[in-house]
């Protein structure tokens, strides 16, 4: 039976379907495997890097590679990354912020305290401000909880969301394009009124009540289906991209795709 992580990889890969010739960046094992799966199955035109500075047409497997050598089709070092992918909108990133709020504003910088003296300092805003104003973004969260889906605004708005109160008059926000949120419980999008977050599919055995209980703000119930289980073909591709089974470490206790009743 497939694991929940594998189900999430398949669900995440749908974010990249039909994206065209943009750089698909998945940060972390599940998003990265999802981008690879998308490229190898439904959306071969995606561009992808080796995780460093080169473009590859064959997604690079996770972890120690043995005799496998990535073959480089192009070059995309950091400088060109901003020039060619991020600031031109030709990219779709899937990332895991520490917090997200009902506006889709995300935080990876700090928790609590003040800007001068945070209670918990994390990474910093990284590229989130630029990513979110220029190109599509999706999110994966392995542990859906109100600490991640926070009741108020995130502690530091590191990525642009759809909060009208944060719009500067005359600013161009046409590039803000938040797509999919995949968690260990469900799949959501931003297609409610005023870009409100909707639940569009529940993972097997999960109820809408389970999701709302784990979320600090109101969600729209737009559930149409149960999140599809991976096919044998998808599982084989995932295995080829993750031969060491790193995906098993992403969700606590590596549960099966169907939640126990």
């Amino acid at each position: 039976m497939a694991t929940l992580a594998e189900l999430c990889i398949v669900a995440c890969s749908e974010a990249f379907r039909g994206n065209g010739e943009v750089v698909a960046t998945g940060v972390g094992p599940v998003p990265r495997l999802a981008a690879g799966l998308a490229k190898l199955t439904h959306t071969p035109e995606l561009l992808m890097t080796d995780g460093e500075a080169y473009l590859v047409e064959q997604p690079v497997p996770l972890g120690p590679r043995g005799d496998y050598k990535p073959r480089f089709a192009g070059h995309l070092p950091f400088s060109r990354f901003f020039d060619a992918a991020v600031w031109t909108g030709r990219r779709h990133a899937m990332v895991t912020p520490t917090q997200i709020d009902r506006f889709g504003q995300i935080n990876l910088s700090r928790l609590g305290g003040t800007h001068e003296q945070p209670k918990t300092q994390m990474l910093g805003v990284r590229g989130f401000p630029g990513n979110t104003i220029y190109h599509p973004n999706s999110f994966f969260f392995p542990a859906h909880s109100p600490r991640v889906f926070v009741p108020d605004e995130v502690d530091m708005v590191s990525g642009v969301g759809y909060n009208p109160a944060r719009r500067v008059a005359g600013g161009n926000y046409s590039g803000v394009d938040l797509r999919l949120i995949v968690t260990n419980l469900c799949v959501m999008d931003f297609r409610g009124p005023g870009n409100a977050i909707r639940v569009i599919s529940l993972h097997p055995g999960v109820t809408f009540a389970d999701v709302t209980e784990a979320t600090g703000f109101d969600l729209i119930d737009a559930v149409e289906s149960v999140t599809p289980a991976p096919t044998d073909e998808q599982l084989a591709v995932i295995e080829s991209l993750d031969p060491h089974g790193i995906r098993a470490s992403v969700i606590k206790d590596n549960p099966p795709a169907r939640k126990a009743a």
Binding site: D50, G51, E52, A53, Y54, V60, G63, P64, R65, H75, P77, F78, S79, F82, V86, W87, S109, R110, G113, H115, E116, Q117, P118, K119, T120, Q121, M122, L123, G124, V125, R126, G127, F128, P129, G130, T132, I133, Y134, M156, V157, S158, G159, V160, G161, N163, R166, R167, V168, A169, G170, G171, N172, Y173, G175, V176
Partner: protein, 295 residues
Amino acid sequence: MSRPLDKRMSPAEIVGQLSDGMTLGIGGWGPRRKPMALVREILRSDLKDLTVVAYGGADVGMLCAAGKVRKLVFAFVSLDAIPLEPWFRKAREAGAIDVLELDEGMLQWGLKAAAFGLPFLPTRVGLGTDLAELGGLKTVQSPYADEETLIAMPALALDAALIHVNRADRRGNIQALGPDTYYDEWFARAAARTFVSCEELVEAMEDAYPQDAQANIVERSYISGVAEIRGGAHPSSLPPAYGWDMKAFKAYADAAKDPGDWSAVADRFVGASEDEYIAGFGGTDAVTKLPLPVF
């Protein structure tokens, strides 16, 4: 006859060119291509009150831990495989440093503004986030028909920049090999003076490595001093020559918890001299043969 160009300096002479209160750019990215030997030389000096501009790794963590930093201009500080830089975190959580927190792309935009002698460059990046208000960044309005409101990213003019490369010659021609040079050339162009450490110093690049001229990421007119320091990026990586020293990073990170006091461990991670430091991590041959990381 004019004298031939000779920019060779010792690491101590390089640090001797720096002064308290300076704005210092440090090249590299997280745990990659960091001019760590020059950072260690700063740590051995009395230099203080620095404003540091960097895509931060252990360079920033160590300078913060040692109380050298008054203000940090950053987008992240990370050791990559150890995502959260523990000494930087301690400094932040103690409220010990001022910060200007920026997006990664904004930081390079500020360096480019400085390089071109502009007061700012316009960008959309930062709109809709907390960056502008926290950083005191102003907006400008496009003078054209679109009248778009944009953030005016101020120039990040550097008094000095430090970078580490694979090769240099005595006139300041440098070669940065490896798949990515990050923003090292923009640190150099944004700085009044740039000092370079290198793995190998040759007499004349055109005689030694003419086939690699494409690896000359910045013109020698931007380079004020060069020092040969083998293993000078350790414990960060210097592709394609050597990988990062994750064991050393792990020990460094663990030391932030126990004993948690920089002065108690500074000897180990800085040393009284570069020779002593490198010897503590197995010697030059060992640190310059560390395998490259797999991504």
